[in-house]
Symmetry: C2
Subunit: 207 residues, 2 copies
């Protein structure tokens, strides 16, 4: 553990370790090892130990990791020991899928509001208790409520303007599903979800 910033690539693996630990807990397991985690995740055990060593001393030689303890620590490191409200932009097919996604519950996230530009969608309930709002009110609403995270699920040509509106209104972190690379100033974090990237990762091995 030192004071240098942890490489982003290491940070990106922590949620994957956290997911694996949570899964092991559902199997009523109490202890695991970097070897077992590595086998499950396709990451070397040495890499896992090195990644975790940036944040402290979590395992003991020969006894492994206490699953609950490491899980709690990772939640704290990733700041998901609390709930985050997330704004969703886009109430199309993908927006519906995300609003209904059961993988957010228990992992720190709650879809707090949904916006769309289409008159067909505005005013409709996308899931129980969540009514689609008009995207023209997005900036005002974000400023008023102070949301810091957003998911962009709009067509490619609308993604950058929507991102600009969000950032101007104070959003600091974007998860982008549109098939373009968003340009953002420093200080703003973006993650892209791009299924073609994952499929290309797979075809490498298919030859």
């Amino acid at each position: 553990m030192d004071n240098k910033p942890v490489p982003d690539i290491v940070v990106g693996r922590l949620p994957i370790y956290l997911r694996a630990l949570t899964f092991l807990k559902t199997e009523h397991r109490e202890i695991t090892s970097s070897q077992e985690l590595g086998d499950r995740l396709g990451i070397s055990s040495a890499q896992i130990r090195k990644d975790l060593s940036h944040f402290g001393e979590f395992g003991k030689q020969g006894t492994g990791y206490d699953i609950r303890h490491l899980e709690a620590n990772l939640k704290q490191i990733l700041h998901v020991d609390r709930m985050w409200d997330v704004v969703l932009i886009g109430a199309g097919d993908l927006g519906h899928a995300l609003a209904n996604y059961r993988g957010f519950a228990g992992r720190g996230f709650h879809i707090a509001a949904v916006f769309d530009k289409s008159g067909d969608k505005i005013g409709r309930e996308i899931v129980e208790g969540l009514v689609v709002e008009d995207v023209v009110t997005l900036s005002e609403r974000v400023k008023q409520v102070g949301w810091k995270m957003a998911i962009i699920a709009v067509p490619a040509e609308e993604a950058q303007p929507v991102a600009n509106t969000l950032m101007e209104a104070g959003v600091k972190a974007l998860l982008n599903y549109a098939p373009i690379s968003l340009m953002v100033p420093s200080g703003i974090r973006v993650e892209h979800i791009d299924p073609a990237v994952h499929l290309q990762h797979l075809t490498y091995y298919l030859g």
Copy 2:
């Protein structure tokens, strides 16, 4: 360049480099550098040079990378210098979004068939020319056509049985959207798309 297998983590970055190169080409650029790519992608230039060095000598000191040349090489390395048929399981909101996703075209992938178990969906056209088929015929159809890749967009509790059917029928690579970790034998590749993982990566920085 040596004969050791390239680390999977390096392989996983190649599609991201490829996407950035394709984007630069749309800006009519001809030459780039590891520094520029790194700045755009939030990866160090040293990492990019090291990653690419696994596959050959693509840049020259002081002149950088020829964008078209490197792009063509990465397509070949990732085996997306050809088109891959992909089977989609699940014709719900997410399945609709994927069937309509415009980010596959030009990147090596084509949704060749869609399956669902719901009588409401079977027989309907999900996009032009693509009719939802009954999942009970999945195994037979996969064996008959010889599809090697599939996208799983079904609810969590159905994902493992669907994956098992696909693998038994000869599918070698799975892209899973369900919020569970699929168990697969060695020799089968899986990628998970999990928005909570990306959101947790973001909250690390929000603190």
